[in-house]
């Protein structure tokens, strides 16, 4: 059971404990708006209550994460599980991996609630008393259904709406079938019925981790000696655009040093891929966290770096309880401004030749979305820093470009959004950066 559903059951338990469910609950509707992260402090706010319904919210740090609506009345009669066709039992050992929405369209089956009942037994005693332990377990199973069965691994639980029913079928199981899929949003709607509940579940099929073009694919568009003679440090090169840049530069004959802050395995896998197609020493890997001292971390390089590509990043899209969070700006400034400057400074100090650096800025500066103003502000500050580094005598020439929205793990979303092909967007920039040498300084 993931914490979203766990929090919902906790909310039901608290509402029951405080006498809010004495009218007899007929329906439960839940909408998940934001994630609830592990170890968050969750508050339950009662927003509205009358004789017919309750509206309550789960709030984390002032941010509404979940909306619950309970309706009161007598439970409906339901003679049997009202799903069409013959359903087969689903045993969920590993999460199902669905990628294509079409695969989801035919999904159906039933899931035992026994295990969920055992797990939740005694955890929500007031909810058990108010709506029945079997139904509490059935609600818990909705989490199993979305996270393990349909759509499984790449799921996002959107909402559920259930009636509490009196069924004559005492099998402790929840049956389901997919009733609708919507390609526009990769959305799945399922009917659910059994163990005293009947209704629908809305889930989304997230994109799996975004893979960038392979070295072999990159090699088709880059000449083998195009960038020969240079050595590039790719900060934040273990994944995403940094990893793609490393492949492009190495495919052009340059030596690359890829840094990672936490993704050691990804960085090593990338180096293996590059070295498998080039010389053994074409790609090296070092750990480098731009939030820590640059000099000590870059000391083991012992190689003159001619080009720097700075893709250090962190999670951009954050849950916030206000339009501006100053600590977030501090975090972003450290990564996108101070970290970049420190890296350039150390490379310049250690090197005999001038440094050509690439600073990837963002089209978000043009659009200025309210939801990521701290990120946009930090990137703007980064741009100003770069402009002044070029004006001042820093022995560093910085190339800045505002990249369009590219398909990466950061930007993958269930909402329709146009994204450019990363290789198409990066290749001309890399060619521009590589064409610059110390002669320009």
């Amino acid at each position: 059971m993931v914490h979203g559903i766990h929090a919902v059951l906790w909310a039901l338990d608290k509402l029951a404990e405080n006498g809010m469910m004495t009218g007899g609950v007929r329906g439960v509707k839940v909408q998940f708006i934001k994630f609830i992260y592990v170890a968050s402090t969750v508050m339950l706010n009662l927003r509205h209550r009358d004789e017919k319904s309750i509206r309550a919210e789960l709030v984390v740090g002032g941010l509404t994460t979940t909306i619950l609506t309970l309706t009161f009345g007598t439970s409906k009669q339901a003679c049997e599980i009202a799903l069409p066709g013959v359903l087969e039992r689903v045993v969920e050992r590993e999460p199902a991996i669905l990628i294509d929405l079409k695969e989801a369209a035919a999904q159906s089956g039933w899931i035992d609630v026994d295990r969920a009942r055992t797990r939740s037994e005694g955890q929500f005693p007031h909810a058990d008393s108010a709506i029945g332990a079997r139904r509490v377990a059935a609600i818990a199973v909705l989490s199993t259904l979305t996270g393990m069965v349909c759509p499984g691994m790449y799921s996002l639980f959107g909402a559920f709406a259930i009636d509490l029913v009196e069924d004559s079928n005492h099998k402790d199981a929840v049956g389901f079938n997919v009733s609708e899929t919507d390609e526009r949003f990769r959305m799945i709607r399922m009917n659910v019925s059994g163990a005293g509940v009947r209704g629908s579940v809305q889930a989304f099929l997230r994109w799996p981790p975004i893979g960038q073009a392979s070295f072999a694919e990159v090699s088709k568009v880059v000449a083998p000696a195009e960038f020969a003679g240079s050595t590039a440090l790719i900060v934040g090169g273990s994944r995403g655009l940094g990893a793609l840049t490393a492949k492009v530069v190495a495919a052009g004959g340059a030596k690359v040093i890829v840094t990672y802050a936490t993704g050691r395995k990804d960085a090593e896998k990338l180096a293996e891929e590059i070295c498998g197609h080039t010389a053994h020493d074409a790609c090296r890997v070092i750990q480098y966290d731009v939030r820590r001292d640059a000099a000590s971390q870059l000391k083991p390089l012992e190689t003159e770096v001619s080009h720097l590509y700075y893709f250090a990043t962190t999670s951009i899209f954050r849950q916030k309880d206000g339009f501006f969070v100053s600590s977030l700006l501090d975090e972003f400034i450290q990564i996108y401004v101070k970290g970049f400057y420190d890296c350039c400074r150390v490379l310049n100090k250690n090197g005999s030749q001038a440094l050509i650096a690439y600073y990837p800025s963002t089209v978000a500066i043009d659009n200025n979305p309210l939801s990521i103003i701290e990120y946009t502000m930090a990137k703007m500050a980064g741009e100003i820093l770069c402009a002044n580094m070029n004006r001042a005598n820093t022995r560093t020439r910085v190339v800045v470009s505002r990249l369009p929205r590219l398909m990466t793990d950061q930007t993958a979303t269930v909402a329709p959004a146009t994204t450019a092909e990363p290789l198409d967007a990066l290749l001309p920039v890399i060619r521009q950066v590589q064409s610059l040498g110390s002669a320009v300084l």
């Binding site: 959305m187 939801s371 979303t413 909402a415 959004a417």
Partner: protein, 80 residues
């Protein structure tokens, strides 16, 4: 249904979705200007409008709406 009626309905839907009674949409409002109106809630908003008014937006429209006024205009055209 006039454009102003549609706008009022949109305001009601987004207030319910985001549990925020302080929101008042105008034709010029951009999604980025409304706190917490993220991509997931954009989907929920579009889905709620479709259910409420019995219309269905094309994926290209959903991607390209620049402001609330554009959604109102498209909705109004579909209702005619």
């Amino acid at each position: 249904m006039t454009d102003q009626d549609i706008l009022a309905l949109f305001t009601k839907i987004i207030r319910d979705l985001l549990s925020d009674e302080s929101i008042t949409l105008t034709m010029q409002t951009k999604r980025e200007e409304v706190p917490n109106w993220d991509s997931m809630n954009y989907i929920n908003f579009i889905a709620a409008v479709e259910i409420e008014l019995g219309v269905k937006f094309g994926v290209a429209d959903i991607e390209s709406f620049e402001d609330v006024g554009a959604i109102v205009a498209q909705t109004s055209a579909m209702l005619r």
